[in-house]
Symmetry: C2
Amino acid sequence: MLRLSTLFVRTLREDPADAEVPSHKLLVRGGYIRRAAPGIYSWLPLGLRVLAKIEGVVREEMDAVGGQEVRFPALLPREPYEASRRWYDYGPNIFRVKDRKEGDYLLAPTHEEVFTLLVKDLYSSYKDLPLVLYQIQTKYRDEARPRAGLLRAREFVMKDAYTFDVDDAGLAVGYENQRVAYQRIFRRLGLPTVIVSAVSGAMGGSRSEEFLFPTPVGEDTFVRSAGGYAANAEAVTTPVPEPRPIEGLPAAHVEDTPDTPTIASLVAIANERFPRPDRPWEAGDTLKNVVVVLIHPDSSREMVVVGVPGDREVDLARLAASVAPADVEVAEDADFTSHPELVRGYIGPSALGVNAPDPGAAPRYLLDPRVVAGTRWITGANGAGRHVFDLVAGRDFAAAGTDGQPTVEAAELREGDPAPDGSGPLAQARGIELGHIFQLGRKYSTALGLQVLDANGKLVTVVMGSYGFGVTRTMAALAEANHDAKGLAWPVNVAPAHVHVVATGKDQAVFDAAERIAQGLEGRDLEVLYDDRPKVSPGVKFGDAELLGVPFVVIVGRGLATGVVEVRDRRTGAVTEVRVDDAVPAVAERVAEALAATRIHPGEGMD
Amino acid sequence: MLRLSTLFVRTLREDPADAEVPSHKLLVRGGYIRRAAPGIYSWLPLGLRVLAKIEGVVREEMDAVGGQEVRFPALLPREPYEASRRWYDYGPNIFRVKDRKEGDYLLAPTHEEVFTLLVKDLYSSYKDLPLVLYQIQTKYRDEARPRAGLLRAREFVMKDAYTFDVDDAGLAVGYENQRVAYQRIFRRLGLPTVIVSAVSGAMGGSRSEEFLFPTPVGEDTFVRSAGGYAANAEAVTTPVPEPRPIEGLPAAHVEDTPDTPTIASLVAIANERFPRPDRPWEAGDTLKNVVVVLIHPDSSREMVVVGVPGDREVDLARLAASVAPADVEVAEDADFTSHPELVRGYIGPSALGVNAPDPGAAPRYLLDPRVVAGTRWITGANGAGRHVFDLVAGRDFAAAGTDGQPTVEAAELREGDPAPDGSGPLAQARGIELGHIFQLGRKYSTALGLQVLDANGKLVTVVMGSYGFGVTRTMAALAEANHDAKGLAWPVNVAPAHVHVVATGKDQAVFDAAERIAQGLEGRDLEVLYDDRPKVSPGVKFGDAELLGVPFVVIVGRGLATGVVEVRDRRTGAVTEVRVDDAVPAVAERVAEALAATRIHPGEGMD
């Protein structure tokens, strides 16, 4: 039994100064976690109990799909990560360590490499496959901006699973099994999630999907169409229009366009002084050239220019996903000094990429996929107060620079944009990424030489998948999904206790009765948090019960004189009076019902 | 059920090349663990199961003494460890990390500082105490020489507990509770341990004891007397003789002593040419001056000379414990170049410490406690082939250098040396340190400002204890204690399974019967490892069963024709035949009996 008189917990009335989102505020205020450093948390007894329960659900569902639990080190040598290039690709995002002999180590963000090596070490035949391994383990990522408590931490708990198959068909089965396991986990936790297509980033591989918990506090933007398309905004590709005939288009002409600080003012002047015969100029006819800096994994900075239709902003997250493993920053004044030919506000294609007088020295020029051959644009003419009109893509300018990336997904998505699969207009929302599953294919097995003999005695490269699940982040998502203004309201199967017994007042009979009820509930294998603090006011006790969020609260107090206690449902606030002698069986029954509702049948899971 | 046809394990016939001790060899050969880097291991499914069971026992006994489980980060910021000085004192023994903002972090070896800070953060009154917190967590130590598998690893699992009390009497109770909990844990694990007095090293604090598992492969030397004294060799103090009268002793005289490369040859020449009237010269009358180098936490090297009676060697481990937090190395040729006055083989007090012509420039001179005033010695005269006779301590020379440490425990212990408490002669043995408990006192609470209000409203500094338990190391000790030439032989309560069912031959009926028995045992809540591999020879299967070490092995094979199966006791090798229909209840009963034998009563524990 957890007794509040001795339990290592202190509730706080004030939100912690650094907390922005409800889960962060409430988990700290409720004494579940405590900040040790930016993005690094200590787990107090109540927090550890919730975490263990989430881990338990994850473990059961991993075991159910044939997963075998292992545990790998967090501290790993550089070599395998060098073979996969991730030592470089992760750049400043991993913690690097030197040992006393100057050997290079890292704190692993995920473990593809060492799982691959271990399977290579132990297995050699197709008969050994398929194989599903997983671990629940502490992971590290040196986030640039740790925030929101457990939502973006630098030390966190993940379940990471890996499948090993002899062919793509096997991978498809392993991937689907994990996908179902994730759906079952989230259903058991009562956490709604959306499965969206994703980009695989530094992980490599082909198909990948994310499990997002939709919430405005989420960092990920995702889109959905009525026709069933769903993707992380970073993974959405722009439908590329058909090229148009260039012949017959007017010649480009440079014009003075003073006082055009905005796209709108430029469009207004264009319509006033150079009207189109067919329709008015629109913002989408202007080509906006945005200067950004790519930070490559070796920390080198490269200035590039991104051209997007003037009616859209550049979405740095989408751009970053397109140029991974590089990171993206907005260009600063200092970045412009080495390129005096770029006149800010009037940057145009003639100074960029292959169009520049010296393409080798000019910034790379990356274009939105909508800028196909034959489209005509108003854009900067590389002189203050001057724009060029009727600049035609494929005739007057082209994308790319020295390494020839032709187009880039950098423009923001908009409500109503068409889904890339033609399934209708897109709606946008935000969410928290809780799971991410990848069909890795042969990236790691090729890099590290994992092959087995097939049925014909021929060596084949093993096909892999990897499946991440944010355990601590899921705890934060559960807090986001289950709270109100007063505090947390845990689902019964992850709550730190099933029942919170509160003794109020100073009457010894109250404490005796509360103790008996708490003992009785524990005798029925329920987990009980008992507020036995002798000199704490009922108001403080009720406030703590609401903050801590145990699903059923039994209040023993004044009613005892007439032989009753109150049972409160934390979530609904509903209060029922029960006879003190019936309290134990009545509460036990409600807990049992609530727990039963969280169970799902073995075959269940597919959406 | 664990099926060997799919279980992620491969047994090895050969010992791994880097393995010296049985636990290391067998845990790797049995597929329990696998090396990922020096001193860093991956845990395979069987290893993780054993580890979890050991953790379970530790958790139960910690909970039984009021411990509350929490979990702290492994990655911690420098500041608290700077306040306690451990950031410096640990020198190269901790892994240090810089984050992307050049902030200093470490991978914690233990967590005194952050536990202290958290209690300071949450608690403020004597009413909140006593408090017992613990965690079971992955820890890091950058060992100079990781070796012996889990016995000296760089990443390992520890249980670390901390007690917080308002006074010394409270600490004594908390310390005793942990001590009993440790005794109960080891008793439940069937692991004999010796409790010895210890030195606290970089931890600070006063009383401390170690729990050692006695084994010749252990790295720690400990001593015991028949009268009940027991200590780590590093903690043994030498009884200091009474000073003797100086008056009347002969004057020192320097003599040519050619051809005296050894103590024995020096003693022989002394007896031949300068005989004592009272008794012959002995090796113990010579004063051997050994040059060593202290490596201070800031990595600076200091040459010092240690003077010990010539009949004893310098024990570097004992010396290191005496000069902690400095480490000790044998002096190399290069170290001598800055001290040409030291003539190797003939070094004597006249060139050392306070006796030197320029004491500030001379090496510090640390003396064995036996070198009390009035003792007379033969020792080097700082010239090739020359020794000084009748050099009298307190008259002709003294210990120490600039910082005045007078004596040092550096001489080796010998079988039969007197116990410091007068309880009789000491016997020596070796052991593995599995637990180490410390009365920290106020070291950390003072450094970090942990105070509470006492009953009189006065601020008092909290008194702390810390209690380490090597979980992964205990697994290795269990393997050391439970193996034979053929493999492991786990105690039933930590074995990866209770029963190993082996189906031999090619007969489908055998596999059907074995499957039924395995299912039947599992139906009785036993953990079953079933060797269902279809094309593996009985010899290989038996060999694997003996290597893996599950305590009960059921062999289903030829006997099936006459309706019997064999039940083998892994440890004794005893084989009994049982009717196939009785196999499940018969084996279940034996497992239940074996498990019952590992249970101890709530009050048990004290030795």
